[in-house]
Every structure is written in C-alpha cells, then in structure tokens.
Symmetry: C2
Subunit: 307 residues, 2 copies
DNA sequence: TAAAAATATGAATTTTATTCATATTAAAAA
DNA sequence: TTTTTAATATGAATAAAATTCATATTTTTA
C-alpha cells in the first residue's frame, strides 16, 4: 500500500479552497474537473481521512483538509522559490563562487575585487577558503571549490588557468637594517637573518621555492605571522626581514621606515593565475570576476609604475 | 514543458545523500538503481540544473543539489508529520471537537468535563462556541461544529441526541424577598417582578418556554446578565429574581442570603442532551466525552441529593 | 418539483515511472 | 599502466498512474 502525498495534491487542495469548488479549481490548474475529483478521491483513500465535506456543493475543506491546506500554504511557496533559484542558476544570474587562494597575500587585492563583484552579482554565493588546509586543485576538480588563485599553473584535464597579472617578489627590511645598503638581495644574504613569513608550507612561499631552496640556503630563524600588516609591523621594528609581492608593499613604498630591494640581480618575477573548471568559464559571473581581477591588477600595476 | 519537483524527487535526493550513492539509495527506497537514475535525470532536465556531480563515483550532490537537499530535509519531516497526524485521526486518537452550547448555563458543568477530557485526549482540537450567534443544529449538519448541547431534542436525519441528565429549573430570590415565603412559585408570581436572565432569546430560556409563555405571563421587567455569578449577585442584593438549573444553584443552597423554590407545584423538569452527527458517535473520544459528561452529571446530582 | 450547478464514476486513453538487460564510466587493484 | 571491479547510464519493454471523455449522481436553487 503506497501512501504518498504529492505536490499535485497540495496544489489541488489549495486551488479548490481558493477557487471555491472543484470545477473552478480545474480551470485554475488547467485540467478537468474529473481529474481533480479522481485525485481527491485517491488522496482521501491514501490518507484514510475525509478531506472535503461532500454534503455541501461546492465542496468545502473538512478540518483535516484545512490542516493540509495549511501545509500546502507553507510548502508550495518554498518549492516555487527553489524553482526560481534554479531558474536564476540556469540563466547565470546566480551561482556558487567558492574560492581557494593558495597565494596567501592574495587576500590583499582580492577583497576589493570581491566587493565590486558582490554589488554586481548579489545572488552569487561567495565564499573564500584559505587553500592551505587542503589540496586546492583536486578540490576544484571535485567541485568543492570553483576558483583557485595560484601561482603555479599546471596542465590538468578540465581545468583552465587564466593569467591575471605578473608581479615581482621583493625584499623588505627596516630602513636601519644593514642589508638596506645593498643594491639587491641574494640567497646567501638570508643566512644570518630572521625571515618572517605567512604560516604556510615552504613550497608555497616564493622566497623558498624561487630563491632559498634552489640555492640551498636556510635562514638563521623563521618567524610566522598571519597578517600582512603584522609582518610589516615586525619588519619596521627590525625583528626580522620578509619577502612580499610588490603590489603588497606598494603602500609602504614611500614610507621611510622601510627599505625595499629586488631579489637577485634581475629580480624574481612570477605570474598569478585563476584556475577554474573549463566549463565554468562559460558562466557570465565567472568571466566577470576574472575581468574585474584583471582590472584591479592593472590598477595596482599603474600605481606601482607611477612611483 | 512541465516543471514539477515531486516529493519522490526530494526523497531520492535525500536517500542518495544519506546512503552515499544511487545503488544504495535504491535499496533504501525499495526500488531499483535504474529507476533512481532515470528519476534524477528527469529532475535535472526539468530544473535545468546539474544536481549531482557525475565525475565522481559514487555520485555526490552538487551545490544546487545541496540546496535541494536542504529543502528536502525541511519539507519531508513535515509531510511525515501530517501523515502521522492523519493516522492519529483515523485511529481516533486525535480529532476535532467544536462544541456549540445552546443552554447558556451549561458552561458551568462543561468546563470541568472538558478539563478532564483535555488531559486524556491531548491531541483533540477543542473549541467552544456559544451557540447563540448561529443555528447550532444546521451547523452540526454542515460539520461546522461537532457537538451541540441542547435541551430540545429533535428528529433530524444523521443527527443523534444522547441524553445526559435531567435537571430542575428552580426559582432563586433573596432570602428577604416576599416570594420566599411561598412553598412554590407560579407563573403569576412573576407579574410584578424583575426577572434576571442570560441575554439570549426567550425560546431558549426555560422560564419562558416552560412557564411564562404557556401561561401568557409577562414579568414586570427583564434584566440581562452574562455570567451566572453576576446574576446571583444581583439576586442577593434584591435587584430581581431569576430561574436557574438546580445544579447551578447547588453551591448557594446553604447560603442564607438566598431562597430557592420549585417552579409550580410539581416543579419543572427538563433533560439535557448531546447532539452529534451519528457517524461521529463511533469516534472513541466522542463517546468518552459523553461518558465524562454523564459522570459529571451524576456527581452533581449526588451533591444535590445529599443536601 | 423541475432545472441548474456541482461533483462522482467507469472505461478508455494518455502520460509517466519502473524494470530488465546491458552499455558506459570511474575508481581500485594488479 | 592495464585489468578488474563497482557504480551509474541508457534504451526498449512493461507496468503503473493520472487524465480524459461521456455520463451518472447529488445538491442547490428557482
């Protein structure tokens, strides 16, 4: 014995109540009076409860029927809502944008980008997960995240890396620090220094992957700090030195407390990429986010050039 | 193009999520893997949205699918609840008990009955409507109320009157009132009195229907009061006389401020009845209410006899 | 009491869902 | 890698269910 109330039934109960009768309800639902009559009969058989008072014509809801009507009025708007959510999803108006950032400092330029984005796409569900606790690219493939900001493009099936901008990793110390006398900083300069970094694995830090590991140099000490502003504070008070992307230090460039030097003679230059599932690039909001990121990058670049 | 999410779909989404895969979900729902696969396909076509990530095996919910799961978890318990409500209804554990009382004074003994009833049948929806604003018996036939307390049994199709108890209508005056000297009160005694009654039509008042109208007597004045206690207050301060059922005045019987006398030499005796739709007498809670009413009546009777 | 309006019903039909058998695909193991 | 295994997809056949049509029945109204 199957016993399943269906949405159809709820719609019918509501329509019969609102239209005041089965025949009028049938019009409302674009079906026949007979269909609804059969339907109601089936529903009453299934529930074992009289839902309508048949003594009267047109029929009216019984007490039990009114209970069902109450449920209908609660539930039906909810599925209407989800249907239109799905409609928005399909049309590209809404969607999910869960971002993993491998490059820790990217918070700095990402936030203003997301702020603009949020205004334009209020229905998109944005979330940022520091891509440190998990492997970002597999998560992207498994659809746990939708966008990964990374400096290390790989060839992966179904994943597309879009170049956002290039940046230089630069050395930052206090103005009083002895190394501020040098024209550029080499790997060996770190041997006696306290290096301040974000608390992530070395492979994700440009200083290590691009300079110290290739040259097999280990700094005297390593100190970790979460926030860029904290790192800069520590550097200013000469508790150590650090390496940051050039656009991060743009704002302290004309602050005489700091000294900023290139790493190695020709500098260390890196690219930043947006990795997405290839099919997601079709989505308007995704393209727009990448556009906005590019624009923000351009703005940063200009502000660097102008100095 | 039809676009209807059905409960079936919600159940499937939930089962796939909980069982972790279509095949296992099929077991859970007593159906085949194929059926669910087709079902999911249909649902995705209807909504136009990818609900499952098919790259992985077993398949997992996509972001949109998770939205649907959330809805499922909200909605499915609600219809489960209503199903069991209906089950209770069918089994007689719950139901509606909307009572109309034609006899105004019946509030007095009905409340303690309902209090007991409520404890035993917590799921029954009780309501009392003073049956003055409308015709109680037609309302009973139309299923607007389920029980009518009345003194005037009629032969009506589909309606059964169950005798509850008999009572006497008695005359009440202040002890100082001249009529308190008489052995019994006759219709003609009212000609010079102020009669205090409930504010209902005369045909529903025993004094009129049983005594004054048959004897074509009109009291000097009529004053109306809602509450029995107010009526008694007015009588005590000699602002008028009244006629009440004997069980109403039981509590003032040994109060020396009042005088209580029978109406006419042999007294006016009346019956009180519970009118219900005949089919409703099958319901256990309805029989129980009538039983309880009978018990309460017996208790009242005893307390009268003991005096 | 007849006429009109509303609902119910049975059988035929159409639509929809499910099954069966099997192909395809992803993950795990070798 | 390749093979094996587990999981899902699919097409055609079948089963089930909902809907329609034609008409009967019931309630209300004139």
């Amino acid at each position: 014995m199957k016993m399943h109330i269906e949405f159809r039934h709820l719609r019918t109960v509501r329509a019969v109540h609102e239209a005041g009768g089965v025949a009028r309800a049938a019009d409302l639902l674009n079906t026949t009076q007979s269909a609804l009559s059969h339907q109601i009969k089936g529903l009453e058989k299934q529930t074992g409860v009289e839902l309508f008072i048949r003594k009267s014509k047109p029929i009216r809801l019984s007490a039990a029927g009114q209970r069902l009507l109450k449920l209908a009025n609660k539930i039906l708007p909810e599925i209407d809502a989800i249907q239109s959510e799905f409609e928005d999803l399909r049309s590209g108006k809404s969607g999910r944008l869960h971002i993993a950032i491998e490059c820790h400092a990217c918070f700095e330029w990402l936030f203003p980008v997301l702020e603009k984005f949020r205004q334009k796409w209020p229905d998109v569900d944005i979330d940022i997960k520091p891509g440190l606790a998990f492997e970002a690219l597999p998560a992207l493939q498994k659809e746990n995240v939708d966008l990964v900001i990374s400096s290390d493009p790989e060839k992966l099936p179904g994943i597309t890396f879009t170049h956002l901008f290039d940046y230089k990793s630069v050395f930052v110390s206090s103005a009083k620090h002895p190394l501020s006398k040098k024209k550029w900083i080499e790997a060996s300069d770190f041997t006696k220094e306290t290096l301040i970094t974000y608390p992530v694995e070395r492979s994700r830090l440009d200083v290590f992957s691009q300079l110290l590991i290739p040259n097999k140099v280990e700094p005297a000490q390593i100190r970790k700090a979460d926030l860029t502003s904290i790192i800069l504070l520590l550097v200013a008070s000469d508790r150590g030195v650090t390496v940051l992307p050039d656009w991060v230090v743009a704002e302290i460039r004309n602050n005489s407390d700091y000294s900023i030097k290139p790493l190695s003679k020709k500098g260390i230059e890196r690219g930043l990429y947006a990795a997405t599932r290839t099919e997601c690039l079709e989505k308007p909001f995704m393209r727009n986010l990448i556009d906005l990121a590019g624009q923000e990058a351009g703005r940063l670049q200009k502000s660097l050039d102008s100095l």
